[in-house]
């Protein structure tokens, strides 16, 4: 390329013309660059604020909605299963006359279940599932009424043993029946309805685990990246046209933008970690409540089997083998419960081992963060497992005694408290599970609260809204401060 020389015709004039033209063009170009940087700063700040406030709304809603609903539904399930167990054991021990011992427990269980269902309904109404979840809980509450009616009928018919036992069987069927909505593949009556609600709630919590989502993060990340790129290119451009080494304003703005992007990454990781911890703790709590349900089912099924076998023996026209058949069926139930128990404990263990990365999970599985089961929780689960194993062994013994005509002994083993037999093992398993459940529930609530409290400017003495506002103002001031002198210079 040739440069216009002094001696060449038109060279000097050309240079003067070029400089003049550049002086005329520069303010316009620099103004455009300034406008672009300010717009990008604004979009970046708005994007940051939007993603943070949306994530906060989601985490708060999940904490007060599905998490609360799921924990309440879990309580309801445990209480319902226990009510059914108490009804069967009460009847086995003599029917309506013995209600003084078992009656209050049954009444308490029903009361707890009703209150828990009401709490779940209130929480479900606030969830994204909206009225659908509340309606389903309303349906569960409605099913409780005929259940209690059948239990009342059974106790009213206690003097007509066969009819009373049949009424108890109908009540148990209502509790454990295999019917429900078209969307459920397999379900089991009242308990299954509540279980289905828990599943839906857990699915909502699981879906919220990736909050803030990649889609929501895309805008602030893209705007921030674009801003940084624009600032760097702006710096290069100014260097070329003015030959100054660095523009302090743009450099400062670049640093602020990079810091904000780093905060964004750190906040997103922390929020997701807390939500993952909360979801893991919720799964543990849910697995524990299901396990308690299984333990109560196992005991209730054994008591019902003894009731039915005794009634069949006394009923007119019973065919030989009916009693043994009933016991065999009940044995299948217990075996199925044992298998479910093992699977649920494995699920609780898996949830306990699941990730962390959040505020509360930093302490880790060993020391008791929400991300993993605490040592005490694991010890409780282990005690429950051992107690249930003893329960299953004893249950097999009860079945053998009943099948060989030694029903009084089988009844005694099923009913006598404090003799180290079935009731004691049941209580041991149930108490251990209850303790583990309380720990898991607390961990779930704590993790969700931590997720809702996570801030974009964590570590700074300002709340997120102020952090973002100040950062945006600072960006604009730095950009404007860096560009304005250059614009005036060319004017």
């Amino acid at each position: 390329m040739t440069s216009p020389g002094r001696g060449r015709p038109g060279g000097f004039r050309d240079r003067r013309r070029a400089v003049a033209a550049r002086c005329v063009e520069m303010p316009g170009r620099l103004s455009a660059l300034l406008a672009l940087l300010i717009v990008l700063s604004g979009v970046f700040a708005v994007g940051l604020y939007t993603v943070q406030s949306h994530a906060r709304r989601v985490t708060t809603a999940v904490g007060s909605g599905p998490v609360t609903a799921s924990l309440a539904a879990g309580k309801a399930r445990v209480a319902l299963a226990d009510a059914d167990r108490v009804v069967a054991t009460s009847y086995l021990s003599g029917g309506a006359e013995q209600l003084s011992g078992a009656g209050p427990v049954y009444q308490d269980d029903v009361k707890v279940a009703s209150q828990a269902l009401a709490a779940a309904a209130a929480a479900a109404a606030a969830t994204q599932a909206g009225p659908g979840g509340a309606e389903a809980i309303q349906a569960a509450e409605a099913q409780l009424v005929p259940y209690m009616g059948l239990v009342d009928n059974a106790h009213a018919d206690a003097d007509r043993y066969v009819l009373g036992v049949a009424q108890l069987a109908y009540a148990a069927e209502l509790m454990h029946a295999s019917e429900w909505t078209s969307s459920a593949s397999v379900s089991d009556g009242l308990l299954a309805l509540v279980r289905q609600l828990t599943d839906n709630d857990e699915a909502q919590v699981a879906a919220a685990r990736s909050t803030p989502s990649a889609g929501a993060l895309a805008l602030p990340v893209a705007a921030g990246a674009a801003l940084v790129v624009a600032l760097v290119l702006g710096q290069v451009y100014l260097f070329r046209v003015s030959r100054r080494v660095i523009n302090i304003g743009l450099a400062g703005a670049t640093v602020v933008a990079l810091v904000l992007l780093a905060f964004l990454g750190q906040w997103a990781t922390q929020t997701r970690g807390d939500l993952r911890d909360g979801a893991a703790a919720l799964r543990r709590a849910s697995a524990v409540s299901r396990t308690r349900e299984v333990v109560a089912d196992a005991y209730g099924a054994r008591a019902r089997a003894l009731l039915v076998s005794a009634a069949a023996a006394g009923a007119l026209g019973a065919a030989p083998g009916d009693t043994a058949e009933q016991l065999r069926l009940a044995g299948d139930d217990v075996q199925a419960n044992t298998d479910r128990f093992a699977a649920l404990l494995a699920a609780a263990g898996a949830a306990g081992a699941a990730g962390s990365g959040g505020t509360t999970g930093g302490a880790g599985a060993g020391a008791g963060g929400a991300g993993g089961a605490t040592a005490a929780e694991r010890a409780d689960l282990e005690r429950a497992r051992a107690a249930f194993a003893r329960f299953t062994t004893l249950d097999g013994e009860v079945a053998r005694l009943a099948a060989t005509g030694r029903e009084p002994e089988a009844r005694a083993m099923t009913l006598q408290a404090g003799s180290g037999r079935l009731p004691a093992e049941f209580r041991q398993a149930n108490d251990s599970l209850a303790a583990a459940g309380v720990a898991a529930e607390s961990a779930a609530v704590a993790a969700m609260a931590a997720a809702a409290d996570d801030d974009l400017g964590s570590g700074l003495p300002l709340s997120a809204g102020w952090t973002i506002t100040l950062a945006a103002v600072l960006l604009v001031l730095l950009v404007a401060g860096g560009m304005a002198p250059r614009i005036s210079e060319y004017r």
């Binding site: 013309r17 409605a142 059948l150 893209a222």
Partner: protein, 446 residues
Amino acid sequence: MNGRPADQPTGRRRVAKRRVRPLAVACLALVLAALGLSACTSRAQPETLTVLGPWKADPATGTGGERAAFLAMVQPFEARNNVRVRYESPPDPDAVLTARLRGGTPPDLVGLSDYGELLALSADHSLQPLEGVVDLPRLRDEYGTWLSLGQSGGHQMAIVIKVALKGLVWYSKPAFAAAGYQPPQDWTAALALAGRMSARYGAAWCLGLEAGSTSGWPGTDWLEDILLDQAGPVVYDKWARVRLPWTSPEVRRAWQTWGQLLAAPRAVAGGRLGALVTNYVSADQSLLASPARCGLDHQASFITGLVGGASSDLGFFRLPVPGGRYPAAREAGGDLFGMLRDSPLARELVRYLATPEAQEIWVRRGGAISPNRQVPLTAYSDPVSRAIATTVADTTSVSFDASDLMPPAMQAAFYNAVLAFVAGGTPLDDILKHLEDVRLYASPSS
């Protein structure tokens, strides 16, 4: 503007634009892409119609059964209208419906298994009249007398989407043929056949009375069938409308007849308790089980839908009862479908379910007889269902299921009375006296 010289070099401007524009375009593209990514998460969901009904899955598997048949029936409607039908069949649909109505959140549509529910829902104005929804003159042609089963207070409040012929005794045709049995022609022959069955299988009758909170209803069908044959449609109708005392000789005789059958040695599989705690579907399925534990089953025609693909092995006859004078009188029941929340989609679903196209789907799956005459006999999947459909079409005297017509309190008492009767230990006089007390309470005008 700034008085730019006319001879300003254009090449330099282009270079400057080339520098600034790509930067601006790239930044804007990034921002727009991010906006697009954020917005693309929301997508329109299909509308949902909620339906609460009595059609349940097979209790043994938790799948299939009438629930699957109903869902298959609505599937073309869902596809055609981009709508999702959320169907619920809780163990006690009445309790759930009552709670939903009280809570102000009823389902859009409801399936009803008896006329008493229709009356109750019409009386409290929960059901929406269908006069402006369906083409009644056309339905009158297609449904004939069946249309009246959905009427209350002079309004069409529901449509019948399937019917069942009741009062039939079912048996396994291969087992019958192998043993050389013949359908009995009189009561004595029926008792003798039951005796031979109990000797062969361990019990004569497959009886299951368990049906959740409506346990006992299968027994009411026995009594209705016997009473209809013995006393005729006029007395039956009076009884169904709670205008005949339960202590009347006709009613007492029907109970005694059934009691005579149950009192036979090894009459029922599992004994009395077995009958009480066995689900009616399980009892129906045990008729064709191997090895069979019983040989006869008193059930409505919907049994063909409960035994899987083995319905062609079923044979049936009408039970001859002592003093039976009306063998041509037939008892039937129907499932109704009504609208609780008026909306264009809900109306569309009611119209669709009334069509022969929709009802043919259930008919082809078995277990249902269509009340719509436009459904061809060739649509029925097996000869047994075709024979029943022909009987339904040819029957001139049809009486509706009496317990379904009774008020809810009377119906519940009837179910409980059946349970107490089968359980034994309660004198028949006491049972009938209690029922009569309930009748006077439930229907004081009578």
